[in-house]
């Protein structure tokens, strides 16, 4: 197995996910199978292929610097679990 339980826990921590021990076990197996598949792809010789970051080959999609109407504040705050009519309210973090 390439993926360790510790690696799963670390990644879950970064993603703020809480995993039960048996879930971590299951994830490790799944991630391992995904990486094995990538390894399979690695068997192909791609030394002559330019690396790309995107599947499509277009570039330069821009917008002009023109204003569009923003949301009304009550709409912007509407989906928040906690708000005070002006701002989103969150536990204090410094």
């Amino acid at each position: 197995m390439k993926i360790t339980i510790d690696q799963v826990k670390y990644v879950a921590g970064l993603a703020r996910l809480e995993l039960k021990p048996e879930e971590a076990e299951e994830m490790a197996g799944q991630l391992d199978r995904i990486l094995s598949y990538v390894d399979k792809l690695n068997e192909l010789d791609t030394s002559a292929v330019e690396p790309t970051t995107h599947a499509i080959s277009i570039t330069n999609a821009f917008r002009a610097d023109e204003r569009r109407e923003s949301l009304a504040r009550d709409k912007a705050l509407a989906n928040s679990p906690r708000q005070n009519g002006e701002a989103f309210v969150v536990p204090k973090i410094i």
């Binding site: 995107h54 499509i56 821009f62 002009a64 610097d65 569009r68 002006e86 969150v90």
Partner: protein, 476 residues
């Protein structure tokens, strides 16, 4: 042991576009909280960012002005972390292939010119603002600033003192102001900087452990904070201690740094190319067009002031360090041809008064044309240099033309020889003791005589004429 200080700066400049980098919301500062937001900058699901072309234009201008190599292809990446001011859970930034790399700017410290390397310039989006509650354990999130375009300018670790760091920061500030791509307001946070500082024994190649300094919102604070941190690290090392790698906050009131509460886990941003944004190709034509549109930059203006106007380097550096100040100077120069005299007045009287009044040059009640006229009045002999300072005060207070102030306050210089001679004779006759001293070779007493005359004339006597007449009378 002698140590060498090694400093690198990370400067963030908000680009002064009308709208955000990936959506059409306004970037205006000071609006009511959460009124400049939309589904995109709120990070709601299902939205797609579209890049503001002007932000790229501005970054290209900065890259050219700082001698960078522009990457013809550049891509945007996601920098992943959780913080309440970042609604998407990632910041769109650039990692591999930023817009520009390998540049430099020149700074001048104590008469020596030094080249400071720029590692890179990249485009990214700003985060929101958090306001912490004073009493309750709550924070309020305002996302108006979220998505405001930024360029981050990362320097090489080429700076060796707080003074050099401040000079470098001032140079970058002048450049963004000349290019007019950022309003440069440090108080409002449109232009801000973090510093990485470490010490190493002199002569050693490898760097010491560094600390990162934050919260320095003026040039002066940057220098003070760095100088404090250098002393702190040196004392620590000399006592056999170790510098801990950490982020420190500068407290300008207490004049010291203190550690920011560290987050438990190490940063692991897991950068990866943002699939929502396609690569940007910057063509030769794009760069050529930007080069053509490039305005005169601080260094070029400084050179011109020195070569064409024959100003000393000192004057040229100060005047051109602030674009508005240099504009003011040149506007005045159109109406008064002695560049050095105009420069002297701006650098002494004007700058001092502005500082005392905490006023910007752009809102100065004395227009450059009026300042030029005032100097014209001195040159024509209408008023003395001393009276000019009184007139200048009145101009600052009322914004009036110097001619009108001189007339209203009856300050025209007395240059009538007969009138002055009459007063000179009266003063000489009334002060035999001082006349005796003068004859005994105490030439200092001359100041007394001229002072008496100025008292009589309320400072309006032509001082050159007064001196001359006293000498003639006393030597009789």
């Amino acid at each position: 042991m002698e140590f060498e200080t090694v400093i690198g700066l990370e400067v963030h400049a908000q680009l002064s576009t009308d709208t955000k980098i990936f959506c059409g919301c306004s970037t205006e500062f000071g609006k009511p909280a959460n009124t400049n937001t939309c589904p995109l900058c709120l990070g709601l699901p299902g939205v797609l960012p579209v890049l503001n072309r002007k932000a790229v234009d501005y970054a290209v201008k900065m890259a050219l002005a700082t001698n960078c190599r522009i990457n013809r292809t550049n891509i945007f990446a996601r920098k992943n972390y959780f913080y309440p001011d970042l609604p998407k859970g990632y910041q769109i930034s650039q990692f591999d292939l930023p817009i520009a790399e390998h540049g430099w700017v020149e700074i001048e410290v104590e008469g020596e010119v030094k080249r400071i390397g720029l590692t890179r310039i990249h485009l990214e989006e700003d985060a929101g603002k958090l306001i912490h509650d004073e009493r309750e354990p709550l924070s309020y999130v305002d996302l108006n600033r979220t998505g405001t375009p930024l360029i981050e300018i990362v320097s090489e670790p080429d700076l060796r003192s707080g003074e050099e760091a401040a000079a470098y920061l001032k140079k970058l500030h002048a450049i963004v102001r000349y290019l007019d791509i950022c309003d440069g307001n440090m108080q409002e946070g449109s232009f801000r900087c973090d510093a990485n500082i470490s010490l190493r024994p002199k002569g050693r190649e490898e760097f010491g452990t560094r600390t990162e300094l934050k919260n320095m919102n003026s040039f002066r604070n940057v220098q003070r904070a760095i100088e404090y941190e250098v002393r702190r690290q040196r004392d620590l090392l000399l006592d056999g201690g170790k510098v801990i790698q950490q982020t420190l906050l500068w407290d300008p009131d207490a004049g010291r740094t203190s550690p920011m509460r560290s987050k438990e886990e190490a940063h692991d941003y897991r950068y990866f190319p943002d699939p929502d944004l396609i690569p940007v190709e910057i063509s030769e034509e794009w760069i050529e067009k930007a080069e053509k549109e490039q305005p005169e930059l601080p260094d070029q203006r400084k050179k011109r002031f020195m070569e064409e106007l024959e100003l000393p380097a000192y004057d040229a550096v100060i005047l051109t360090g602030d674009r508005e100040l240099a504009d003011y100077f040149e506007a005045g120069l159109g109406h008064y041809r002695d560049a050095k005299k105009l420069s002297n007045w701006i650098m002494t009287e004007l700058i001092r008064e502005l500082r005392d009044r905490e006023m910007e040059i752009t809102s100065c009640p004395v227009t450059p044309v009026n300042l030029a006229r005032l100097l014209g009045l001195i040159e024509a002999g209408t008023i003395s240099g001393k009276i000019a300072k009184t007139v200048f005060q009145e101009m600052l207070a009322s914004g009036k033309d110097p001619d009108i102030v001189v007339k209203e306050k009856n300050l025209v210089q007395i240059s009538d020889e007969g009138e002055i001679l009459k007063l000179v004779r009266e003063i000489v006759a009334a002060n035999p003791e001082q006349v005796k001293q003068f004859k005994e070779g105490k030439s200092k007493v001359m100041g007394f005589f001229v002072g008496q005359l100025m008292k009589e004339t309320k400072g309006k006597a032509n001082p050159k004429m007064a001196n001359q007449l006293f000498i003639e009378e006393l030597n009789k």
